[in-house]
Structures are given as structure tokens and as C-alpha cells.
């Protein structure tokens, strides 16, 4: 039983969309769970695959692989849930759900995402601009390259680089002297 995900030829992939779903569901779902928590993730992932199917005619294999294209779609949908994402990040230093979270869904999202998060870093990520956070998390969590992120988000290669640098600098600052690699810079 092989477990290597193979980026199949795009034309073939989109013809057999159920195979596309089977191939990328786990990865896309995990990425959204990481950003939004498991409750909202199911809605977002369902919408992402339906959107991808609807827009398949506009998919250009010359510009991006299917996986990259799906990350682009799902990233756009995550933006609609910015409050959930930020709330989950800010819930990190509280024990229990944020006091102002009205719905069960958001409480669960916050709790689950919070389990392994540390407050200062989480707060720094919450404070990033939307574009910076996208680039940071597509790099760190999804493992996309600069080229892929540029294709997924429809931005230039240079913009990917500058957003990632800014995001990393802000995080470094937020973590202060806690980073031993940075200790000798005083």
C-alpha cells in the first residue's frame, strides 16, 4: 500500500473529480482544522471542493498544480472566518473558551486549536495582516514553495517573499529573546 501523493496530470485529475477529492481531502482538511478548528473546517472544506468543481473550467494547469489551486481556493474561504481564527489564537492563553464566544461551534474551535498553542506566538500570528498570515501558514503548515504560494494566491513571487519576511520578523520580535538563535544579536 503506497502512501505517496502523486500530483497527477491536471487534465486527468479534474475529469475524475471524485479522485481529486479522495487525493486531497485529508491534506486540505487538516490545514483548515489547524487554522479554524474542526467544526468550521467541515463547512469550509465542503465549500472549497464544491467551489473547485464549479470553477474547474477556469483552472489553468499551466499556472498551478491541482493541490496548489485547491490551497488557493480554501485560503479565500478561510478569510470569511477570520474572526474564528483570531479568536482561536487569542484563546490560547486563557483556560477555557473565550468569554465572548457565543456559539458552541466557536467554543469548540477555540478549545481544540488552543490545546498546543502558546500565547505570545499565537498573539503575534493573530496580529499579522491577512496576507502575511496566509503566506506564513501556507509555508509552515502546508509546505508550499514561494512559487506555489504565488500561484495559489494570485500574487507575485516578490510579494510572497516580502510578506513572509515581514511575518517572520514580527514573530521574532514577539518572541523577544526567547529564541536562542537570536540571542547574540542582543
Amino acid at each position: 500500500m503506497t502512501t505517496t501523493p502523486v500530483e497527477r496530470p491536471p487534465d486527468q485529475s479534474l475529469d475524475d473529480f471524485s479522485a481529486v477529492f479522495d487525493a486531497y481531502f485529508s491534506e486540505i482538511h487538516r490545514y483548515v482544522v489547524q487554522r479554524l478548528g474542526p467544526g468550521p473546517a467541515e463547512d469550509v472544506v465542503a465549500e472549497a471542493f464544491l467551489t473547485a468543481f464549479r470553477k474547474r473550467a477556469r483552472y489553468d494547469p499551466a499556472k498551478a498544480g491541482v493541490r496548489t489551486w485547491l490551497y488557493g481556493i480554501v485560503t479565500n474561504l478561510i478569510h470569511k472566518h477570520r474572526r474564528t481564527e483570531v479568536r482561536a489564537l487569542r484563546a490560547v492563553d486563557r483556560h477555557g473558551p473565550p468569554a465572548d464566544a457565543p456559539s458552541h461551534e466557536e467554543r469548540v474551535a477555540a478549545q481544540v486549536s488552543a490545546e498546543s498553542l502558546r500565547p505570545a506566538l499565537a498573539e503575534a500570528i493573530a496580529r499579522l495582516g491577512r496576507g502575511e498570515r496566509d503566506v506564513l501558514l501556507l509555508t509552515a503548515l502546508a509546505g508550499l514553495s514561494h512559487e506555489e504560494i504565488a500561484a495559489a494566491l494570485g500574487i507575485s513571487y516578490g510579494t510572497v517573499g516580502s510578506r513572509l519576511s515581514r511575518a517572520r520578523a514580527k514573530i521574532r520580535a514577539a518572541l523577544g529573546g526567547a529564541n536562542p538563535m537570536e540571542a547574540n544579536h542582543g
Partner: protein, 347 residues
């Protein structure tokens, strides 16, 4: 440690929820009037598109924390392609089932029960255990006409050498009949009068009552607690019966996809229920093992094996029954059918 590693560690790796995929499919179906749009394009599957019209409720929002593997052996990776490889055949099988499912004349469940008896047989020094199997089928029509089909399969000594030293007996006497190394004949028994669907040994439900079961997990749980109490279970053991009766909603009764979804969610919310990860059922079919204690303070354990893709129950195993042995219930078929009831022949 650089920032990207910090970020990765901050987010961690979420536990694999084995039912997330099915739930997402159910959401997509709900959003597209029960059909996944791309299935119209899969050769030969156009009409069977309600793939695995199975199980999960649109509108489910929370996850199933207790149903996440608790150990670190979660195997999902960016390319967990077991689903890629097996997805299609499972999809086809599920689609066929789903297609046949809603319109049949009879609700039909076909099961193979296997029992490994704790009691030793044979003579002193040459004892062995026996494994007995029964094929059991149940049909009930929408009007409540019902039939049972039973066939005893061949009894098998687990230690063949000891059995030979015992003189290779072909029959064993037991309290209620006997065991034989030859299979019995299949029998079909019609039930008299209007029959209902039993919940445990107590409450009997009409088809309408089955359809009216609550699709909200908490309400469904409370409804099942009432049913358990109605079957004269002592109050201390009521909670221990909950996973078992919720599991029965997944394959013994013709519940709606919404109710099955609620049953899964109710199971997931029980602290005693654990997902143990990928395994195979006694017939080698791959599935996810979900375990729970059956009797408090005793080693009796229930183990459901669930098909990851269709969310159907493949098997229910009970281990650790004191002085009794281990029991296996393999679900061979569960669904609506138009085939007339006949005496069981083969598995």
C-alpha cells in the same frame, strides 16, 4: 529554532478524525441536493450518485474529540492515499447499496455470529476450545411482516491436534442442542402478526417510530437511555449499554442518515468510547476500530469496526465475557431490499 518551526509546533498536528471525510461529503450532498456534482461525470455512476447515502447530518458542526485516536499512531499524512487506492471500489460498492437502499420492500440484516467458547471440550489433557458460527438473517416489511432465517455453520475445534487425540468427535452435546462439525440446513421462519423493530430486548419500534427518532445527538442519547431503562437494565448498568444501543442504530434499524449521524456524534461524545485506528474485520475488510466497555468493572469490551468510507458497521466484537468466550458479529448485509426472504444458504 526558527520561526517556521515554532509556528508548526504551535499548531501541532491535529488528530485524524476518521469520520470527517464522510461528514464533509454529507455536507456537500446537502448543499447540492444529495448528489455530489462530480459523480455525474464518473462513468457508470451517474444514477448511483448518492454515494453511500450514508450517514452524516448536514449541519453537524463540532468534531468528535473522543473519536480521535488518542495515541500517536495517526497515519494521515498529506498523502494518506489508502483512500486514493481503495476509494473507488468502496465508492462503487457503497453506491450500489445506496441505490438499492431507500426503495426496497424489506428491511434486511444478514449477520454471521461466531462464538469462541471459553469452556474446554475433550478429555483431560487433550482439551480444546470450540468455535461455532450461525448465519442469521432478519427481514421486516414496511407493513410489519417479518421472517427470520437461520443456519448453523460447521463447528470448528481451535486446536485440531488435541481434537484428533480426543478421537475427532463430530458432535458435542451442549445444554441447548449440540454442536456439529457438519453445517446444518438453512431454515426460514415467518413471524406471526405485525412485528416491530426491537431496541435491545425491551422497546419495540414501528417503522414510523424508527423514522421519528431524534436527529439531535443529545436528544437521541436521552431517547436511548429511556429505551435501555425500558428493557429492565439495572440503573447502574444503564450507561454501559449506551454505546451498544447507539451502535445498533447504525445497522440494525432502518434509521435515516440524519439519525445515524446523530448516533455517531452521540457515540463520539461518550468518554468511554475510543477510536483505536485502522484494522480489519474478521473477514479481512478494512475499517476503523471503535471500542467501549460493556459492563462496568468487568473486562467485557465491545469493539465496533466501521468502514471509513461508508460509515457502515462491518462487525461488532465482544471480548472478555467471564466464563463464556468471545463473540463476533459480522454484518454481511444491512439495508432495504426487494429480494424475497429465503432460507440462508451461504455467507
Amino acid at each position: 529554532m526558527d520561526e517556521l518551526t515554532e509556528v508548526r509546533e504551535l499548531y501541532g498536528r491535529p488528530d485524524d478524525d476518521p469520520f470527517a471525510k464522510t461528514r464533509v461529503q454529507a455536507r456537500m450532498r446537502a448543499a447540492t441536493r444529495r448528489r455530489l456534482p462530480w459523480q455525474a461525470g464518473v462513468a457508470g455512476l451517474a444514477t448511483a450518485a448518492a454515494v453511500a447515502a450514508a450517514v452524516f447530518v448536514p449541519g453537524m458542526t463540532t468534531s468528535a474529540p473522543a473519536l480521535s485516536p488518542s495515541s500517536g499512531n495517526s497515519t494521515t499524512s498529506p498523502g494518506n492515499s489508502t483512500t486514493v487506492l481503495s476509494g473507488h471500489s468502496i465508492l462503487l460498492a457503497a453506491a450500489t447499496r445506496a441505490e438499492a437502499a431507500p426503495e426496497g420492500a424489506y428491511w434486511h440484516v444478514k449477520r454471521l455470529y461466531t462464538m469462541r467458547w471459553a469452556k474446554p471440550y475433550g478429555k483431560e489433557g487433550d482439551t480444546y476450545q470450540l468455535e461455532t458460527s450461525n448465519l442469521v438473517e432478519n427481514w421486516i416489511s414496511k407493513e410489519g411482516r417479518a421472517w427470520s432465517g437461520v443456519r448453523k455453520l460447521a463447528t470448528r475445534p481451535l486446536d485440531v491436534e488435541a481434537w484428533r487425540r480426543d478421537g475427532s468427535p463430530a458432535e458435542w452435546k451442549v445444554e441447548d442442542g449440540g454442536f456439529s462439525t457438519s453445517p446444518g440446513e438453512g431454515k426460514l421462519v415467518p413471524h406471526k402478526g405485525r412485528q416491530k423493530f426491537p431496541l435491545l430486548e425491551g422497546e419495540q419500534l414501528t417503522l414510523e417510530e424508527v423514522k421519528a427518532l431524534p436527529a439531535d445527538p443529545e436528544a437521541l442519547k436521552n431517547r436511548m437511555l429511556d429505551a435501555i431503562r425500558a428493557s429492565d437494565v439495572v440503573e447502574d448498568a444503564v450507561d454501559d449499554n449506551l454505546p451498544r444501543v447507539l451502535a445498533s442504530l447504525l445497522y440494525e434499524l432502518p434509521t435515516s442518515p440524519e439519525v445515524r449521524g446523530a448516533a455517531y456524534r452521540a457515540l463520539a461524545a461518550l468518554p468511554s468510547v475510543r477510536v483505536e485506528g485502522d484494522t480489519t474485520d474478521p473477514r479481512g475488510r478494512p475499517g476503523v476500530a471503535v471500542t467501549f466497555p460493556i459492563q462496568q468493572g468487568r473486562p467485557t469490551q465491545g469493539r465496533l469496526i466501521i468502514d471509513r468510507d461508508t460509515s457502515m458497521v462491518l462487525a461488532f466484537l465482544v471480548t472478555g465475557m467471564p466464563d463464556k468466550g468471545d463473540r463476533t458479529e459480522v454484518v454481511l448485509e444491512s439495508g432495504w431490499t426487494d429480494s424475497e426472504p429465503v432460507a440462508p444458504t451461504a455467507e
